[in-house]
Symmetry: D2
Subunit: 339 residues, 4 copies
């Protein structure tokens, strides 16, 4: 922590700050400049509210120095984490992995048709929701466990891995019987009870960035899972909330290279939620891969016009097939490949 | 729902949209203007993704007409909900009710000292956290049930009601033995599993606005609780996330009169989280009351410099006493009073 | 400037940063901590792009220490600037001064009626636009100089001071013949050509915060005017752009006490633009005064339903009269008064 | 315009709204639904403040139907505008055109070295600033006309076109003697005095999106120029301001496909300002092209570490050369090419 004193701070004020720092277990270095005194405080605390010092008399500004996350930081694993799903599919390595499927499982037939189609186009993971977080209590809330059962059948039949959202810690045990990756939705990114429970799971967790979460907060939420003992966290940019309302969210593609530098964890993009509009999904999917994403999460529906949820942001199978072709051209520009 | 067709939309396109609307159970009115055809769709659906129609050929724009919340709307209870806590204390009536106390219960002694002090200054409710949602897994996470026990003792001793945050549905049964009001934190505003569980509780719920939640989303989260059978929801503005970083959040005071017009539920303000800086709490508390808040949630600590969490935004007892005096002058300007 | 090196930065990297700092004219203090080396750079530059150092090898973070504004800072004039308009009216002193009037001058009759009415209710300044910055080129653009002429007549007749917006440096000479205060609109807050020209004017400037300007940027824009030789700058919060769209802008009332602490300049609030809705103007006006505003800018129209612009956010004379009465109750809570 | 009346609106209220609409020159269609009455108002006004109707008794919501821009809309020129710079270089056609160069002209030598280098790598346009809009009055403000002279020499020598920022209408006549494209910076996007003056110019205008401007506002600012008689407007996404502060701005890449659909004007991206960090420029440049940008604006400096401004976001010539190679791989994925 670095504390900058105001111009004209008195010796007594400076000494009081030093005493408080020492009392909190910090080693203090004092630099006396022409106009400002600067105090450097070095210690072991990751949990420290720097605002406590901001309000002391004579203090101009307090700046944190230590990154608040440790296990999630790039330094912890400089070469980067590669998550091995099996059968040669890895996330975080050279291949850009695509997860595709409907917003919600709607029926056995629907999920089979879509699984077959996305597998043929090159997807490696089947994505679909069984428990849906809906803004309105009156909206379709998902098929529940039955949906997971259908999803598992379809994934196995077409040699896909699977990912689905877990909404509450009480669902974890049941869900790990059905899916390969547990997804934490944007609205639950700071549901710490859930994050702690997922730290004890032995399956990869796909953690989506909250709608108004900074990149640092995303990494701190990952830290909850990592600190609990689960090393396999996949991060996901899915759009942030800004003043612009034409798109449902503002898809913050820069978060991809930023997070890849700050952290060793794989980072994928979800252009379906990132834009909320079908006709913008392909451009943003291409952009995410061009920016270095380790994978994509894309909503595909065999009949988007009649989807029970989010049809407006789902590609149809033909659009998805075309997109995969475009991605195969783009990925080599940065030394990656798409299956 | 109102659908505006593009200039030059063909009859076939218009008919296709009408067919889709009718197929979805709507009654359709068609207005043919000079440049645009406008379709009015009237139906019973509250669950409808208007984006499904935005992507149809020939459609310019789709606008929702029905408010998506019903039980939370002002029309449902035009005279406004007044929540009766007992002993003559009500929220939503003529009196501006103040809840005060530390961010976290830290010890029996601490909570007793603070309870006595805030009661003396005019607070009616003791606020304190026993389970703390912390951004970092390494930060103090609260005393847990022991803290609630101390809190209850202190509240009873000084004739205060009490409010504390519930972080997970599994904590509800235990917590209602200790507190009078269950608080849902900003990070959990869209934790639908928790909201549904709180619909079955028979105690008032204090629901905080999420950091990036619109006012409509806040009311939809309230709707989850109301639809579950619990009519006693208190809404709370606690600051939203914007580009401005000097204050921890941007305290959106306009939300107070806006929500009071849209909904019959009481609406209070939390200037401590709304600003994150002790020296800004009093101005914003005064502003919230001047704007019509039904109450305030204020962090007060007997020794803010040594608080285990959020000391930087806590008033000391003297500052709180002074603030209450200022509020007693302001409230009558709009026909309210402060105890 | 404080530069924090990465854990594991090499001596060569550290020395390179030091050399760059010295080469840029800084004095450098080096603190070697257990995990991090911290470099404090002290110098005279106010113009420095700290990002230049962020990209050097081995650097973790760079933090600016010196405030980039000087003449606008509170330290420059700790007791606060009071702007004397004459006839006993001052801004920044004990009295909360209210400027009121229509969005646009529409006719001689209109501006006279409104001026008479707001003067009677206690306003000291007449506000009205003659040149209007309109988002659409097809919207009413104001009456121009004729409007200023009508405005001056009305102001003089009812012993009011006057304020109107200047949109371009070429209008300044003409406008100072008509108005007492020149207003810079939010869209022009960073029109540096205009700001520089206003530095040479000998009338007070009312500088509105840009829609997405930080408080620091507002003070830097004030610095342009102050550095040009004009000491009389009045700052104005008028709402910022956020994700919330129910109100036209989010009125950031906390900016009032924040700016009052950072700067010696008077700070007023504009709840009409801050909310964009007539029924929210009075609550937000009360809130701004309760938070410590030195004044208010309020749109009042004798016939809001037929105003040529912004009628939706204009109070009618009766509403304004009632508001002034409410403000007279609130101001004394913080030792201020309203005429 | 569509006006939705409240449930329970009285016939008198509905009639009053109709009368107001008719009085304002609208034709009105009334749809009486089960719960709501909806009024469709068709007229010729592009200048209409819909908020005027929102506050009438009995009104629930007012929705604008007509797009407020006309000359900028895609419908006005469905096949898209292609701006011909000469010598076979066009913007808006099949080729992705890259403008590159330093933030500021610093010397004759500097601009020649950079011009030669970027021309060799495939840039078609030289970009550089002679008048700089700087947040601080103490920062380097550019070389002025001398810089433009150097820039013109360098551009001609290496067969490049040139673009530079105009900050005030008074500079236009002088600048058109030196540059091929006049740039309007983000801070001036709503400087209507300047926009109107540029409508009379016969050179293309590069109009940057303001930091907090919606896409619609960008198009309305373009409308000012188009309505003035200048048909050659190039739009530019350069990052918006959001809560995320790790990057200088949030580069809203989705704006590219959105604007391309709403408007016929060419749309380019500026990843240098969009991110503010050199190491993020190449990923975002690739992403912009993958999303369909018609061109790029990229800061390149021969010695970024010693640039007088914005060195932190400038590529060096080697990085730019590599980026151009990557773009040549990506562009064909969507049927485009890079020179």
């Amino acid at each position: 922590m670095v504390i900058v004193m105001q111009e004209g701070a008195t010796d007594a004020q400076i000494q009081h700050v030093i005493d408080r720092l020492v009392g909190s277990g910090f080693n203090v270095h004092r630099s006396t400049g022409e106009s400002h005194t600067v105090l450097g405080a070095v210690g072991v605390h990751r949990d420290f509210d720097h605002r406590d010092f901001e309000l002391l008399d004579g203090v101009r500004e307090v700046m944190r120095v230590t990154q608040p996350f440790k296990l999630a930081s790039r330094q912890f694993n400089p070469q980067g984490t590669i998550i091995n799903l099996g059968r040669g599919v890895t996330i975080g390595g050279n291949e850009v992995v695509v997860a595709a499927g409907p917003c919600s499982v709607e029926s056995r037939e629907q999920i089979h048709i879509i699984a077959e189609s996305v597998a043929k186009s090159g997807a490696k993971i089947l994505r679909a929701g069984a428990f849906k977080p809906r803004t309105s209590p009156y909206a379709f809330q998902g098929m529940g466990e039955k949906g997971l059962e259908f999803m598992r059948e379809a994934a196995e039949k077409f040699a896909l891995f699977s990912v689905s959202e877990v909404m509450d810690a009480s669902q974890i045990q049941m869900m790990i019987g059905y899916v390969d990756i547990l997804q934490v939705g944007a609205r639950n990114m700071q549901n710490y009870h859930l994050l702690r429970a997922l730290g004890e799971v032995r399956k990869p967790i796909l953690l989506k960035r909250g709608m108004s979460a900074t990149m640092e907060e995303l990494l701190l939420s990952a830290e909850y899972i990592l600190a609990g003992g689960n090393p396999d966290v996949i991060l996901c940019e899915r759009g942030i909330r800004t003043f612009e309302t034409y798109t449902r969210n503002t898809f913050d593609i820069a978060a991809i290279p930023v997070i890849k530098k700050l952290s060793h964890l794989p980072m994928i993009g979800d252009p379906s939620h990132g834009t909320g509009r079908r006709d913008k999904v392909a451009p943003m999917a291409r952009a995410a891969v061009a920016a270095g994403a380790d994978g994509l999460l894309i909503e595909v529906h065999n009949d988007p016009d009649h989807a029970l949820s989010d049809g407006a942001q789902s590609l149809d199978p033909g659009q998805f097939e075309q997109l995969m072709g475009e991605l195969r051209i783009i990925a080599p520009a940065i030394g990656r490949r798409v299956a």
